[in-house]
């Protein structure tokens, strides 16, 4: 098969789409690297081998990757992940610091009831 520059460009773009959940953080490569290896193999085969079935599978994989990434980006605006007040200090990630320049008002300091997941045990306290 004749591999043109355009084929290589499309292949790179498809690989980038497949890797989007890894780049964005939804499916971290530390856990999902085997899936990425297989998916990239399929993409390469689809473009170089030009098998119709593999090309369809690549299209499905790219759609799933894009959907997952988009969904994760949208869900970041919801309170699914608890908003931590402290974080790893970027200069020395072995220690924690509060999020800098924070101005927070709301419900906090209910670690046990949050862990238990029982709403009736929540103690109402407004933190400012």
């Amino acid at each position: 098969m004749n591999i043109t520059r355009r084929t290589l460009l499309y292949m790179a773009a498809t690989i980038l789409i497949i890797l989007a959940p890894a780049i964005e953080g939804a499916l971290p490569p530390t856990l999902f690297w085997p899936c990425y290896v297989v998916a990239i193999g399929l993409v390469v085969y689809a473009f170089i081998g030009a098998s119709g079935r593999t090309q369809k599978l690549t299209l499905i994989l790219a759609s799933v990757a894009l959907t997952l990434t988009a969904a994760d980006l949208v869900l970041r605006f919801t309170p699914i992940v608890f908003d931590e007040l402290a974080e790893r200090w970027p200069r020395m990630p072995l220690v924690n610091r509060y999020v800098p320049n924070l101005r927070y008002e709301g419900r906090r300091f209910n670690d046990l009831s949050r862990m238990a997941g029982v709403k009736e045990w929540w103690e109402e306290k407004q933190i400012s």
């Binding site: 699914i80 992940v81 007040l85 020395m92 610091r97 046990l112 103690e123």
Partner: protein, 293 residues
């Protein structure tokens, strides 16, 4: 709740005069309360002290030492400035301890720090969080103990602290992190002494100690006010190093009954491991009288 540009829980700092007090510690030092009721704010407001809070949640004594080391040259101090270092019975021995050679730590340059920030954003992925929750090997709900308090309200306890806070002094000295804790205390003392700062250690007991009679189903107000094994060992280390030491357990146990009978309030939150507003107000006075004045 306010934090400064360096990532510590402070409002405005009076830089025209040297600091009177540093507070170093974990979430207890940071305060599980509104800004006006943190130890740092109470000491500044009620005792007119120039204070700075270096406490950060989820920090081990070693991590607190590293934060202190990193910030040591940023402040104006005077002879007699006090460093109040808060330690916690519940988990301070079990947390992370790293190398005492500060230069051997993985300090990051600008680019690496920027990448760390980016990775922190990536790590907050909701899909990943949901998957991790589903696949979690340990069910966090099993760590919570709910007991009825005298007024019928649920008082929650953290099960691991019902064990770690009740270790004997022999168990403490035999712990794998004991040598590291000891080295960290020595290093903090050295760091403070080199700047003419007086160090005092305040030990916060776990709620599971102060209200032990609740989860142990014992008669009300019968918690044992004898110092914990951790406290006994710390008192010994502090005596060796010439460091002031305050164990809050006996006074908190005594005060817990008085506060409840007079105001109906608890010194810890019902649904949290931390000291409540009442607890912080009471202990700030003790810290001032025993370690600062």
């Amino acid at each position: 709740m306010i934090t400064d540009a360096a990532g510590f829980r402070n409002g405005s700092l009076d830089q025209s005069r040297p600091l009177d007090v540093f507070i170093l510690g974990d979430s207890f030092g940071g305060g599980g309360v509104s800004q006006e009721y943190t130890w740092s704010s109470i000491l500044a407001r009620d005792y007119h002290l120039n204070t700075y809070n270096l406490s950060v949640p989820a920090s081990s004594p070693w991590q607190e030492y590293v934060n202190l080391w990193a910030e040591k040259d940023r402040f104006k101090t005077r002879a007699g400035t006090v460093l109040v270092w808060q330690l916690f019975t519940g988990n301070d021995l079990d947390e992370y301890y790293g190398s005492m050679d500060i230069n051997a730590l993985p300090w990051c340059g600008r680019l690496r720090a920027w990448l760390n920030r980016l990775n922190a954003v990536r790590a907050r992925s909701p899909i990943h969080y949901l998957m991790a929750s589903i696949w979690a090997k340990h069910d966090a709900r099993a760590d919570v103990l709910a007991k009825d308090f005298l007024n019928g309200r649920k008082l929650l306890f953290y099960k691991p602290y019902t064990e770690t806070s009740f270790r004997t002094s022999e168990q403490i000295t035999a712990h794998q992190n004991y040598a590291a804790l000891r080295a960290t205390i020595h290093a903090v003392k050295e760091l403070a002494a080199a700047r003419g700062i007086r160090l005092g250690i305040v030990l916060v007991p776990a709620k599971e100690e102060v209200y032990s009679w609740v989860w142990q189903n014992s008669p009300p107000w019968t918690a044992d006010s004898a110092p914990s094994g951790f406290s006994v060992v710390l008192a010994r280390l502090c005596a060796e190093e010439g460091i002031g030491f305050l164990d809050l357990k006996p006074p908190l146990i005594k005060e817990s009954r008085r506060t409840y009978e007079e105001t109906g309030q608890l010194l810890y939150w019902y649904d949290d491991t931390h000291l409540s507003t009442h607890g912080n107000l009471f202990t700030a006075t003790l810290i001032y009288n025993e370690l600062i004045r």
